[in-house]
Symmetry: C2
Subunit: 269 residues, 2 copies
Amino acid sequence: MTTLSRLYVVKIGGQVIDDPVACADFLHAFAALPGPKVLVHGGGKLATRIGEQLGVTSQYVQGRRITDEATLQLVTMVYGGLINKQLVARLQALGCPAIGLTGADMNLMRAVKRPVKETDYGWVGDLTAEGIRVEAFMRLVEAGEVPVLAPLTHDGNGHLLNTNADTIASCVAVALSAHYRVHLVFCFDQKGVLRHPHDPDSVIPLIRPADMPALMAEGALRDGILPKLENAFAACRAGVEQVLIGPAYALSALSTETSTRAFGTIIRL
Amino acid sequence: MTTLSRLYVVKIGGQVIDDPVACADFLHAFAALPGPKVLVHGGGKLATRIGEQLGVTSQYVQGRRITDEATLQLVTMVYGGLINKQLVARLQALGCPAIGLTGADMNLMRAVKRPVKETDYGWVGDLTAEGIRVEAFMRLVEAGEVPVLAPLTHDGNGHLLNTNADTIASCVAVALSAHYRVHLVFCFDQKGVLRHPHDPDSVIPLIRPADMPALMAEGALRDGILPKLENAFAACRAGVEQVLIGPAYALSALSTETSTRAFGTIIRL
């Protein structure tokens, strides 16, 4: 039995990108993470602000943005250009050999344009782990490069597709789990999954599937966290070694194997 | 003596990008070019139009744009994001394994922020062939990838720099000429270098340094073409096998070795 190397897939969202101090701290911690790694970033308020200036007013259906042609151009500019390339330039300055990519580049991530049922979501891509070109990712990672992925895929027919960054992180993590012990990290704006929603220090250090009934019974888990946990368990069942949920500033601590941590929740089977 | 492979470095400017039909024709011809190749693209009117919408009004000094912070963000979005990723997605659809990159990605092109003398040009990068990371380019090219370069470099200290696309094409061509027989192609809006400026069919098929005195004496060369020829000869003296200047639609014909061509001017030593 060969021992696989550990590989981190780290996802940051808009709340990190929008905060210069948090973003700088995060980039230092990410650059310092040992071994192969992949960064996936979301959007943030920047796209909304620039969209307003450009007169791009996105339609929403049940809280989900419709990606019309103008919105696709907007996110291609802001996610694929501005945010992605600024992150890459800053990581390079920290000695991290970053390479900023979308799913179109090297055909890394091919998705299916979401089928029109009751709602036409427009240029939105539904990605699965099968859409990840593992061989190309491995070639980059084995050469020491650090892919920095914008939340954009393509359809193979010349169109880019707006794609959820959490989904990209999960799919890349699952697809690479045949070749690495993948640790998937979701940075979010709390210290971890909280036992008492109103006590920010009540972090649950470890959650396994067997813990769920008790946690549900005591009403510990807020509504918003349940889908995240379900996705995390799904990623683990698909091969990811563990999922970590925690604050961006704690990335360096998250990567250490301590059982008594003040922040960060580990999810594993 | 080993025989080196031929490699094309092709530069397109805004006049191709702004014209949907010309751009589609070009991409088909480029995708069909055999062997290793690199595409370098400029900007076009899109950046100006989006800049106007965003209220970014660039300052010009003697016809040269000053790249202030807002202008740098604009070109990072439009060149590095919108134009670059759309070209990549369309090339992928044509079976061309494109990868869209700036100079920050993989530290491919490191430039020096233009020193402030009489004018502060802002976030503009001066690139030389020494700033090209040849090893990284070769790794991509040898793996069959086709780099698509936006006119952006970086300073290694976390800042992107606005950089002339012609300069990028020349520097990449020169830097790779130690390892390939590099053919550098500048697509522009005429059939080639014209003997009679008012006769669009009077293309000079081949220009060598020895031809210059006679061409100058007969007043054949318009002012605007002289710097292009000087840059082309400089590239050849630095190792590039030949430079071709011609229309984007003729890219496929340019790559054939005919001495009787209706369009395209070859420049060599």
